[in-house]
């Protein structure tokens, strides 16, 4: 029912994991919602939804061993870096939102990457090669989360990732396609080529991918903690590779890197509390768009009616315009957080929308002054929740691996804007759209969700929230529902091909030009979500068929 990729691992490992999964499935019955490709998984004691079955299995293994949601999220995140290396890894970065049930506390950990401290203002960053790499934050962020809010040791939670890197895993069609898609830059980097094309040609679906150098690197981190990565021999290897290849990251940059605990952004939508990732990422824009949509009765019509798609597309465009104009690193620019979250501001933005026709050009608004790319979701039996989104920026990041370490480096430096709050500065964190989010009702969190998908993250998060809260869809149905995406800077309304022809015609009549993608397309992200029934405590998990997502629970 759920995809898995266990065949080909060592017999011992395979048997252990199989037993684990059988146990998981026995206790976690599944059900297909109407017309869903994947089953909605249910469980009572703990659940992990991630972009790859082995990463979900890693988190489940930790939950079943008595770990809490943070332990499991960190285990799954390290594992994702091994088994979904195109999208995440210790050469990348991320942001997570954590809810601690016993303290009724929600916090965000910002482990976004950072520009090197050297002046790179004259550098053309591009999207590949060593100059496109920003100082990675993943190790610092995951270690901070574990140390402050976890219960297990680094060695315990990293064990599955180390195992996968050493023993290997089956390459999925999705992963194989991403290797082919960027094979040109990949083939220019010997260390990366050795990982992804050990026999010269790109690994294909069904083959086994191993990364023994990465296994060793992870073991060093498990033994020595994050300092090995930021100040020790791994920092030496990264800095040496940078120096050899015209990159800018030095040991001093790595030593200066810190994960930052931040206050999440908070808003409400139709009586539900939305808690999401703060600037420099996209949670604020998700809430702003929902605030605009709150001015319309979406549930009065079918989810994909031309009117509803139009209203959502118009709200998205306004949210994106404000995102570009106002959001950047809060340590470098003043972000009008309260203004952008203001309900009256959203009402004014909603009034700009003509229900019958598309707005040809959407500009940023004037928010009032106030003083003031993979995703995984985990829930444990205590009610703790984690929503975590990590990225290398583009698939395969900078297409650069650090020789001898198995680490694939990000290309986050491509995300600077020419001007405004997201303009480049040394030591600054660039804006992205990631938006791991937790939804609560009456102070009780019951949804953890998120998605990768570059610019589509914000639109997909809005669609997920609307599907769950307005249309009352099941979690798998909400994830699989056809997606669309509109942005102030793009002329087309992008849609999945399942949106019917008559709806497209109605949208064209409102002034849209339509760009159709295949029925389920990873262009629109790969969402994962867990919803907890607040009355029964039953957890329901959904994973995205657009990528290799999988939910395991027990």
């Amino acid at each position: 029912m759920q995809k898995n990729g266990f065949a080909g691992l060592s017999r011992r490992l395979g048997a252990a994991l199989l037993a684990l999964l059988v146990f998981g499935f026995v206790l976690a019955p599944s059900a297909f919602a109407a017309d869903t490709r994947k089953a909605e998984i249910t469980a009572r004691n703990g659940m992990v939804a991630s972009a790859q079955p082995l990463a979900s299995a890693a988190g489940l293994e930790i939950l079943m061993a008595g770990g809490n949601a943070v332990d499991a999220a960190v285990a799954s995140a390290f594992a994702l870096g091994v088994v979904e290396p195109n999208a995440t890894g210790i050469g990348g970065e991320g942001m997570m939102v954590i809810y601690l049930a016993d303290r009724k506390l929600t916090i965000a950990i910002d482990y976004r990457s950072m520009a090197p401290l050297a002046d790179m203002s004259k550098v053309k960053f591009g999207n590949e090669g060593h100059v496109s790499v920003a100082v990675p934050g993943t190790v610092a962020g995951l270690c901070m989360a574990l140390e402050k809010y976890g219960t297990m040791s680094l060695a315990q939670v990293m064990a599955p990732a180390i195992r996968y890197a050493r023993n290997g895993f089956i390459v999925s069609e999705t992963l194989a396609q991403t290797i082919k898609d960027r094979f040109d830059p990949i083939s220019k980097n010997e260390a990366l080529l050795a990982i992804l094309a050990p026999e010269g040609l790109p690994l294909e679906a069904g083959q086994i991918m191993r990364n023994p150098d990465l296994a060793q690197t992870l073991e060093k981190i498990a033994d020595g903690g994050p300092d090995v990565f930021y100040k020790g021999e791994i920092a030496d290897a990264i800095a040496a590779d940078m120096a050899r290849n015209g990159g800018y990251i030095t040991k001093a940059d790595l030593a200066a890197y810190r994960a930052i605990e931040r206050e999440p952004v908070r808003g409400t939508y139709r009586g539900y509390e939305i808690v999401s990732a703060p600037p420099p990422v996209g949670g604020l824009s998700v809430i702003e768009i929902l605030n605009i949509l709150e001015n319309f009765d979406l549930a009065a019509e079918a989810p994909l009616s031309p009117r509803n798609i139009h209203l959502m597309a118009e709200a998205m465009k306004r949210g994106f315009a404000d995102n570009s104009a106002f959001i950047g690193d809060p340590d470098f620019a003043k972000i009008p957080v309260a203004g952008l979250l203001d309900k009256e501001y959203a009402r004014r933005r909603a009034q700009e929308i003509d229900p019958d026709k598309v707005t040809p050009k959407v500009n940023a608004g004037t928010p009032p002054e106030h003083p003031s790319t993979t995703h995984l979701s985990v829930v444990d039996r205590h009610g703790n929740m984690v929503a975590l989104t990590q990225t290398l920026s583009g698939f395969w990041g900078a297409a650069v691996a650090v020789p001898g370490t198995g680490i694939i480096l990000n290309n986050e430096m491509q995300n600077w804007s020419a001007r405004g709050p997201n303009a480049y500065a040394p030591g600054k964190r660039m804006r992205t759209t990631i938006a791991p989010t937790i939804i609560a009702k009456d102070g009780k969190p019951f949804v953890t969700m998120g998605t990768p998908g570059a610019g589509r993250i914000i639109s997909t998060m809005v669609i997920l929230a609307v599907n769950l809260l307005d249309y009352r869809m099941g979690v798998q149905e909400a994830i699989e529902s056809p997606r669309f995406y509109a942005r102030d800077t793009e002329k087309d309304l992008s849609i999945e091909a399942r949106i019917p022809e008559e709806t497209r015609k109605a949208l064209i009549a409102k002034g849209y030009s339509i760009k159709a993608y295949p029925e389920f397309d990873l262009f629109f992200g790969g969402a994962q979500a867990i919803l907890v029934d607040l009355d029964t405590g039953i957890m329901r998990g959904g994973a995205d068929p657009r990528r290799d997502g999988a939910v395991f629970g027990f």
């Binding site: 082919k180 040109d184 094309a197």
Partner: protein, 211 residues
């Protein structure tokens, strides 16, 4: 394994040619279990008249700016040492001195963007390469390694442009799951090789090229 492989090709090569088309399905390693072994270049036995019939030097160009062209370059030049010229966005003048043109089929929005080409411009560029190849009496190989991901509307349009003018078409199985290439090659009277892996496509290519 090798004997079995050759036997399979031979057997298939003896199938009577329906509508004068030759469709060879190379189900060598079994499609359900991809092999991690390295197939030996040049191990394929082709029907008489095809083996070694493509003159060198050759040139690799894309039809659609797919990054699969970089994979085919590795296949041809790194593995098979065929020393093909390579330019993903080649213009007709680049073909000068080459005797075989290999189109790597598949439209990529990212690739088109990187090359600064609209789809319409790409179609015109491909047409100009075909014209130049025909004028110079070059042989044309079309190869598709991108699977179903490189079978969208734009890719299909370019495939339909290149296949009928090709002397042979090589397709990695996933790209022909709907029989699109089979139908097109049959209608165009062009030989088609469907292979299970990219490495096997290399074996076919190695056998096609003159020594």
């Amino acid at each position: 394994m090798l004997k079995k492989k050759i036997g399979k090709y031979r057997k298939l090569a003896e199938i009577p040619m329906k509508a004068a088309a030759l469709v060879l399905i190379a189900m060598i390693a079994g499609l359900s279990s991809a092999s991690a072994q390295t197939p030996q270049a040049g191990s394929v036995v082709l029907p008489e008249g095809l083996a070694g019939s493509f003159p060198r030097p050759g040139f690799i160009a894309s039809a659609g700016q797919t990054s699969d062209a970089a994979i085919v370059k590795v296949l041809a030049n790194t593995r098979l040492k065929l020393n093909f010229g390579y330019d993903i966005a080649a213009k007709p003048s680049a073909l000068e001195g080459s005797h075989t043109l290999m189109f790597v089929l598949g439209a990529s929005n990212k690739g088109l963007g990187a090359a600064g080409l609209s789809f319409e411009q790409e179609v015109e560029r491909v047409k100009s390469l075909i014209t130049a190849a025909k004028v110079s009496d070059m042989k044309i190989i079309s190869i598709h390694t991108g699977g179903s991901a490189r079978r969208g509307e734009a890719s299909n349009q370019l495939i339909a442009l290149c296949v009928p003018v090709s002397d042979i078409v090589i397709v990695v199985q996933g790209g022909n799951d709907d029989g699109f290439f089979t139908d097109l090659c049959s209608r165009s009277n062009v030989a088609l090789f469907v292979v299970p892996t990219i490495a096997e496509a290399g074996n076919v290519l190695g056998s096609l090229m003159a020594k």
